[in-house]
Symmetry: C2
Subunit: 361 residues, 2 copies
């Protein structure tokens, strides 16, 4: 999508033809900075420190990270070491494993001297496919928004989202926000309630930033506010992304998603997760019991970085010194609370039957 | 309770015998500063800017604020003007109105020249009564914790709380935290999950601070995390305060309380609100429909104050410049989601019948 009127993807090959250019999302919304990754280790660090984040983008970054790792050494051992390093960076996102599996399938049958070129080709395909996938997700989600807009006769359709499943989370378009962008571009008056999404504030830092750049009306709210808005008819639809979806339709997504799903359920507000098929983990049924939840640095809870009065980024302490904190990155919303799921193949019930109908065999 | 080993109340008469000393809660947790209120306007500003906050403390501060207003002029007109000014400072807390009504009942029948002394006497009573009330609330709440501790055989009892309904929110002891302090002092191993409570972070700034000062084990979490903890059996009991409770047991409390109540209900975790009888608004039945919800400055969502690296308080921007935000201060948890209510008269079902049994006539 556009930044200052110029089209960008979140990740792309640098003009040098081998290094990888990403948007440093840690510096948004206050600075728009591109960084160049030149080694496997730099790619792993970019994923681990969330310079790139969002399930599909993590997958794309891992694919390119492996390319960088194969430049000095394309042996089986280097493939394995590289994959292992990348896999450890973020334990929850299934796309990471998926992308590395795809790379392995494409490369391991080849002799080492042919792997590097094939790796770059496959990584580029993963990126292009993600863009097309997200565009399709947007089209299917748009079918939810259109009848709401008709029913509201020109009044704005209010969509609540949590965290960032916008174009910054994918290679382009985004997942939860793809339908929003399509609706907005089609002239449907949409307005987005943006959960700030503590502790890392991806809503304030990323979702508000990208909606602003695209001109979509939006309002930032504390994570605590969504239930109140739903009780008072201020939310027509909830759209979130997913970091991992089980074969039964349980949705693992940014911590706090479950709370919003409960509120939507309690108030009859439709609640959908939008994600590509690569997010589905067919090996897992019960999300709450089976998905390991990443614990991140407690400092993300006790401290917060933002723009100081002098225009420089600064970190402040929010709690008494040495306050003990924990920081779970994700939670699981049971399928029973999901109105449905939006994938590139269409809308589907959040159930084993629903998913199997769309993805037979 | 104790601060640096010395006993404090949150509000008290200054040694000069007429001005009013409060803890400036805006500067916690990084600085412990007492300020002296000398006029009605200073008291109103202290309430409006949340130097004092918490339903019972707001009532006590309003009572003393009226005393200060009567010093230059104790006429009926001054009583009315003073009450009106104080009443406007925080529209949601019913204790504000209650305390001012109490002052009116005590003072209006008296000739103006006798009002000032009576006002100080009544304000002191309101404070002393609050302390005694909270101690009783603590005793009744303790009865919930004791059997849990027995059942857990020495394992810690995990209590989740939202915002600050601790001693800083009352004159002393607190409401939701009064049972926690009593349990801790009785040697029961309690541990508190402290919701940070965006946007003003009263959990991080106040609850963590007061628990630390009293030595109660606690862990700070993002507001988004409570649902995940409850899904995984990490919460034995939720205790929150209340800013207004309807005659039917709906509980208006800090924004986000409703989301935690939904999660508790979904996971079979007992969820109680603790508050004094003065918090009950007998004129109102349906909390969601009838309680006006205060909207505060949107800047509380887009900006955040904390301790900078140089040890000074500093405000940072969290969102892109000019981001539109809204900031609802409270939400309403319907009685159906409350396991029960804890008042100074005992534990009671959150229902019209339950409340009427405790407070007949």
């Amino acid at each position: 999508m556009n930044v200052n009127g110029q089209a960008y993807r979140t990740i792309r090959l640098h003009a040098d033809g081998w290094s990888v250019e990403i948007i440093d999302q840690r510096r948004l919304p206050h600075e728009f900075v591109l960084i160049r990754l030149t080694t496997l280790e730099e790619a792993a660090e970019a994923i681990g420190t969330m310079a790139v984040r969002g399930a599909p983008l993590i997958g794309a970054a891992a694919a390119y990270g492996l390319c960088l790792g194969l430049r000095p050494d394309a042996s089986d051992k280097a493939m394995r070491t590289g994959s292992d390093l990348l896999l450890k960076t973020r334990p929850t996102a299934v796309n990471l494993r998926w992308a590395l599996d795809e790379m392995g399938k494409a490369l391991l049958p080849l002799p080492p001297e042919k792997r590097l070129e094939a790796a770059y080709r496959r990584a580029a395909e993963i990126c292009d496919n993600d863009v097309e996938t997200n565009r399709r997700i947007g089209g299917h989600g748009l079918k939810l928004i259109e009848p709401m807009a008709k029913k509201k006769k020109g009044e704005r359709v209010n969509i609540l989202t949590h965290c960032n499943a916008g174009w910054l989370a994918g290679v382009d378009w985004g997942m939860a926000l793809a339908p929003v962008y399509l609706a907005h571009d089609a002239g449907i008056p949409v307005h987005v309630w943006v959960d700030e999404t503590r502790p890392r504030n991806q809503g304030a830092a990323l979702t508000a930033w990208e909606l602003k750049n695209h001109g979509v009306p939006h309002t930032l709210i504390a994570d605590n506010a969504g239930g109140h808005l739903m009780q008072h008819g201020q939310v027509d639809l909830c759209l979130v992304g997913a970091d991992r979806v089980t074969a039964c339709g349980d949705v693992c997504n940014k911590i706090g998603t479950y709370l919003k799903a409960l509120a939507a359920h309690d108030n009859g507000v439709p609640f959908y997760a939008a994600f590509p098929a690569s997010t589905i983990d067919w090996r897992i049924a019960d999300g709450v019991a089976e998905i390991p939840i990443e614990q991140r640095d407690a400092r993300e809870v006790t401290h917060l970085r933002g723009l100081g009065p002098d225009g420089h980024s600064i970190e402040i302490a929010l709690a008494p010194a040495d306050t003990h904190a924990v920081n779970y990155g994700f939670d699981v919303t049971p399928a029973r609370l999901m109105t449905g799921l939006i994938t590139e193949r269409g809308l589907v019930q959040a159930s084993a039957e629903g998913l199997r109908k769309l993805f037979p065999g």
